[in-house]
Symmetry: C2
Subunit: 449 residues, 2 copies
Amino acid sequence: MKVAKFGGSSVASAEMLEKVANIIKSDAKRKIIVVSAPGKRHPEDTKVTDLFIRLGEQFISGQAIEDTLGKISDRFLSITSELNLSDDIVLRIKNETRRLLNETSNSSLLLDSLKAMGEDSLARVLSAYLNHVGLEATYVNPKDAGIIVSEEPGSAQILEKSYSQIYNLRNREGILVIPGFFGYSEKGTLMTFSRGGSDITGSIVAAGVQADLYENFTDVSSVYCVNPFIVNNPKEISSLTYREMRELSYAGFSVFHDEALIPAFKANIPVCIKNTNDPSAMGTMIVAKKEDNGQPVVGIASDKGFSSIYVRKYLMNREIGFGMHLLNILVEEGISFEHAPSGIDDMSVIIRSDQLTQEKEEILNSRIKNELKADTISIIHGLAMIMLVGEGMSHRVHVASKATKAIAKAGVNIDMINQGSSEVSMMFGVQEKYLDQTVQHLYNEFFIS
Amino acid sequence: MKVAKFGGSSVASAEMLEKVANIIKSDAKRKIIVVSAPGKRHPEDTKVTDLFIRLGEQFISGQAIEDTLGKISDRFLSITSELNLSDDIVLRIKNETRRLLNETSNSSLLLDSLKAMGEDSLARVLSAYLNHVGLEATYVNPKDAGIIVSEEPGSAQILEKSYSQIYNLRNREGILVIPGFFGYSEKGTLMTFSRGGSDITGSIVAAGVQADLYENFTDVSSVYCVNPFIVNNPKEISSLTYREMRELSYAGFSVFHDEALIPAFKANIPVCIKNTNDPSAMGTMIVAKKEDNGQPVVGIASDKGFSSIYVRKYLMNREIGFGMHLLNILVEEGISFEHAPSGIDDMSVIIRSDQLTQEKEEILNSRIKNELKADTISIIHGLAMIMLVGEGMSHRVHVASKATKAIAKAGVNIDMINQGSSEVSMMFGVQEKYLDQTVQHLYNEFFIS
């Protein structure tokens, strides 16, 4: 049995839904379908979920909602009419929206219910359309599917007990179409997951029913081994492990919500990233273990926007607790750190720059100076991080050598190297202005030559 | 004006003291001499300070001391008789020791006073011998020299106010011979520095009198660029900066007590390491700044005996404070860490293995598991650290590349790379069994080819 999840761009229009139906039809094992709300049809388009959020905010601030509601129903109407389906669903959206606005006093619960309407309505449309093309299909509400979540509007967490209930979906006849993005609390109140939550639903359902495969249909044929905005026509990754995926998703690899895959990973369900527009392409498999193919590096992740807080104090290494106190100041200031390379008398802490403001920097400066009696403190911005990822690199002597040679060839100075905790990654820090050339040279070294 | 300090091996015998006198005689600028207690004359010999410690411990535990006192006086007697000096000093040692044993009730103060007798007596011997060979020389007691320290027997700290008093030594006539290793509290009680404390006295006096040069005479002609027990006949370092010295002294470079040099460093006094047995050799200069000679790496330090505590937890990077909490557990268990490389979901802490016992490991395991809810914890022993040091490497792109290439050539896997905090060092972790071959290849790469 396969669980197939279709993302927003895969269900954005009637034309896309026809492709989705063909994909489902072509493989009888695709028994459980999880859908997003209609996404963008073109770059200037608005996602249906964003329209629902706008409508909710308009209502809460006392503005007219009719224009927005009209846009939402037009969006669905264009789908149902092109697919020759009844417009009952469009009518239902209007009525249900008005009912929610009238009956829900708590504004976070109202927003959650409105946001969920995009997925919910699309699941109803797809189920009707699958019936229309001769497949036995049923819309299954998440409550009915057994998706029980914590009482946290907008950031609900799945409850462990859900999985045994979800397992029972295996006994249902025909194709089941489940809207992604939300579940119900034990009290029966609708709660959404965090943004990107259709991926969470897909992964939870795949784990619950113990699927043979969880297919994640999106608008790319596979995961690239490097950011395609940096390297032209990069190679595709045919297979990677959960650990590699997790490391790659750290920076730049935003094909999907990586944390969403955790339920599937924990249940050992293989995941396949596939393209709705090119379903015959192999896609990228994400698996627990894979055979060593002699390729030490599977992908290169990179991102800009890091800063370094450098602290120097003579005899630092004799002071038990210096590092801890430094990190504690960061914790107290609400700053999470990425890396903390240290020398004998100095320590640097690499953080995401968006956590710093001018004011915050001044606070850090004065706290580190006063509380730690540091000799020197400097905060440097404009750092980029590059991560080489691959299960094969833990015991390959030559990876560090090849990587540093490639960076030297790019004419770039390495500001930081961090290797030694994760067995599947190696991290380099360079100045942002050198990021592209560094990544290009690393790509050439590990994927071309 | 120069301050010259002679270490234990330089004053171990009459023959050595003759060399010392010749060195002093050969340069009229050598006005202030600081001495250690007589050290070992051959590998099986016992240092005079260790004899004094044994004597003190025997007395405290109610054992007979005569045999040990006999050994001490014989040791000095052989020096004075060979140098044709009066044996007053030997008599004084016996009387003074007995007086101390009778009059000092506090055992830490007694031990401190006994330990200091080695340096004190040798300073008296040398001063007498310098007079004997026709030089104007005076023994100067540290109290008289103005060395005022904190009230901490065995680990006294210099008080800032000492420096202005020490400055007055400039006005004294002739050569001044000051025993190293101890000072006096404001109450006038004798207190020793930590072990190796003659270096501390030398450095303090050099800073206090604002010497043109602080000469540290020992038994090597200079500092080697790599451990001579690993590499045969390694090159000598002619000049290095304070920062380089500090980084190199971190592991393996135990030519002297590196922290002892801090007073000299802070006062910007150049330091020269010289060989009592070969005073015409250039030695190694340690200076605040030096010219870039195009050599990025000045030395390679290395040491064994490290362990790694590896902690993995899914989604660790989303948890603000995880790293801090981990380090806090170490602080609470009294463990200081050397490095803490981190991945996205894992963190390793590198520590000196001698801080761990079986019991301590179990405590750490259970605290990290229970308090941090870590998924995996593993403690690995048998790591070695190798540090490349050089002011020239901060902006030389090729250092990391050359180093990793050399390690690859040695056929050794790199377990850890830490670069990015200190501008003058780069650290590699390898398994202990690979240490020698790694260091040899790095030496070949940076010093031979």
